[in-house]
Symmetry: C2
Subunit: 374 residues, 2 copies
């Protein structure tokens, strides 16, 4: 095995593979990255119990020059550290003997021990099945906007990740922990499949967010108990969460008694002030009292103190009297997902969910269940 490649590109691809490796894996070979050098490309593969990555560097660009094919299993962490310290634009990688790889630049030369590649499990990357194509930036944004409502450790397994589903030819991403729901509608590019419903674990979502670039589109393929994301030269495959995701449409209220129109930034700062820090980082209960032309925001943390502020910078539609309590952290998380200047806070009464939306971005909805105050 002998090839030369652009150092920065090689760093980028190794980095993708390294991120999912579990350094404490009980299978020693899975601590490595499988480097497969074929006649016209170099593939890097890594895997843990729930995710696998295969990323390819193609001939023709990337300064890739293949002199001899072959397969080795490298220790990604050390490779990465060393590549980062090198100066060279192009580096040479060659296997010498069975257990040594040589990494060299113009003047410096590293010999590194490698693992036995014959121990590496054979991984199947599924690229065919029910699939949707979505825009990369849209997907990245949508995942960030919905993951806020997911509790990674939710005891109801199917809730410990995001739900992907179709409705009326639109692609929906939904997260909920039982106390709040985040929902985003996204355009499908190209063909709309007949069915597409799956639940992706929280950890996998975080990796996908890191993999998604600022340009291009992503193909999401669902086959049996796996979902594959094809993002340019990289294939990311994850297990799914089994179970029936709750029908959140049913909890989305549609008729509201009061809609408050506020500037997101100002309202966000107001709620941040009410979110008094507590000794044990617990949530703060915030009480919103609407009375005519004023919103009173009050909060209280045992042994620390209390907060009160009158807020008048809003427009209103509907009933001008409301009194509702909610978890400040949930509201703060929701407000952060809106990149719009203005938002709407839709209320029914003290016992019904609040819906936060924005007429500037109709595809995003955040629902929060109220708390009962004493």
């Amino acid at each position: 095995m002998f090839f030369s490649v652009n150092r920065l590109i090689f760093i980028e691809e190794i980095n993708k593979c390294n991120r999912i490796i579990d350094p404490k894996t009980p299978t020693p070979s899975l601590a490595g990255i499988l480097l497969e050098v074929e006649a016209d490309k170099v593939s890097l593969i890594s895997s843990n119990t729930s995710m696998s990555i295969k990323t390819t560097i193609d001939m023709g660009s990337n300064d890739l020059l293949i002199k001899q094919t072959g397969t080795i299993l490298i220790r990604g962490k050390y490779f990465l550290e060393i590549l980062r310290r090198m100066d060279d634009e192009i580096i040479n990688i060659s296997s010498v003997e069975d257990n040594l790889v040589m990494l060299s630049g113009e003047k410096s030369e590293f010999s590194l021990n490698i693992l036995n590649y014959t121990d590496y499990p054979s991984l199947a990357f599924r690229e065919k099945g029910d699939n949707v194509n979505v825009n990369n930036i849209e997907l990245k944004k949508s995942l960030n906007q919905t993951i806020i409502s997911v509790n990674e450790w939710n005891q109801k397994i199917v809730l410990a990740g995001l739900n992907f589903s179709l409705d009326n030819s639109m692609f929906y991403i939904t997260g909920t922990d039982g106390f709040r729901v985040s929902r985003k509608r996204t355009q499908i590019l190209g063909d709309v499949p007949e069915k597409f419903e799956t639940n992706i674990p929280h950890k996998s979502i975080l990796e996908i967010i890191k993999l998604l670039p600022e340009k291009g589109e992503c193909k999401i393929v669902s086959v049996d108990s796996h979902v594959t994301f094809i993002i340019n030269n990289t294939i990311f495959q994850t297990i799914i969460l089994e179970g029936q995701f709750p029908n959140v449409n049913a909890v989305f209220p549609t008729d509201f008694n009061t809609t408050l129109y506020v500037e997101n930034k100002k309202f966000f700062k107001l709620i941040s002030r009410a979110d008094i820090p507590s000794e044990d980082n617990a949530s703060t209960v915030v009480n919103l009292i609407l009375n005519d032309d004023s919103i009173f925001i009050k909060s209280n943390i045992h042994q620390i103190g209390s907060f009160e502020e009158v807020f008048k910078e809003f427009e209103i539609k509907g009933l001008d009297e409301q009194n509702i309590c909610f978890n400040s952290k949930y509201l703060i998380d929701s407000l952060r997902t809106f990149e719009t200047k203005n938002i709407e806070i839709n209320l029914i009464d003290s016992k019904k969910p609040i819906v936060i939306s924005s007429s500037e971005d109709v595809n995003l909805s955040q629902i929060i269940l109220p708390m009962f105050s004493n």
Copy 2:
């Protein structure tokens, strides 16, 4: 007690006090910041077992307006969090009842529980004694350049901090862990005292570095078992380390067989490459072999791999044959302290200390003991 003050200035002074507070202090009152409001100034005081701070906000600037004097003991952490979330330029602080302080802006109002100030120990800040005045930036830079050789947990107590001393009307700061020495000479501004020798603990040095601003000068006062740093409106007092600091002058070699002149950045990158990461983050032994017009740098980490590079970008004075081993981390730390373009590496033989210096900054010296290779 009732006053109003500029919010950002108040944040800055609370921040100074908060940093040294030990949240796990066995003395509950020391978890607080003592706020003393007098007719013409507000003082903030905090303390832990080894350091104390007193910082003063004066009338006339800082938007300070005192309406009623008094003393309270506040919980700095919550005060800071809340002040940061407020919008107002000016804030009002007033005590209401015995156990409550009101923090208010134009629209928002916080009530916070306070501690009992009568429990707070009486602290003496010593401002008179043997003293030297030094430039703030110079001092900050010197502390950063010398602290690298200090091991906070050194079993020989006197080495667990920096030594301040006088020699020939110059002020010396020295740190050593027994394997290396960092030494910086600094100008004294104004009068030179007859004697001045003290040892400041590592933790206190880190706090002083944070307190030192970019302008002005600092007065360092040594009295009995304490040293006080007077930095503008802030007095910082620390305990000292007892014991006799070793005479490092004795270990500083002066006659060298070889001097290598190198560009700091290039040599730094070379040694960083040789510093192969290891499984347990242990130090790497680097071997430097000088042979005529080439420097060979070699290193080897058990089970990971090895490194080799030839370096020719240097000038030389003296013997052109040397073979010496050293701890890569020590050399990297030393090279980082030089802000100069070029440095000199002075060698005697494989068993004598290396001295790193720069003709562009003659006040700084870094010594490293070599290692014996096998």
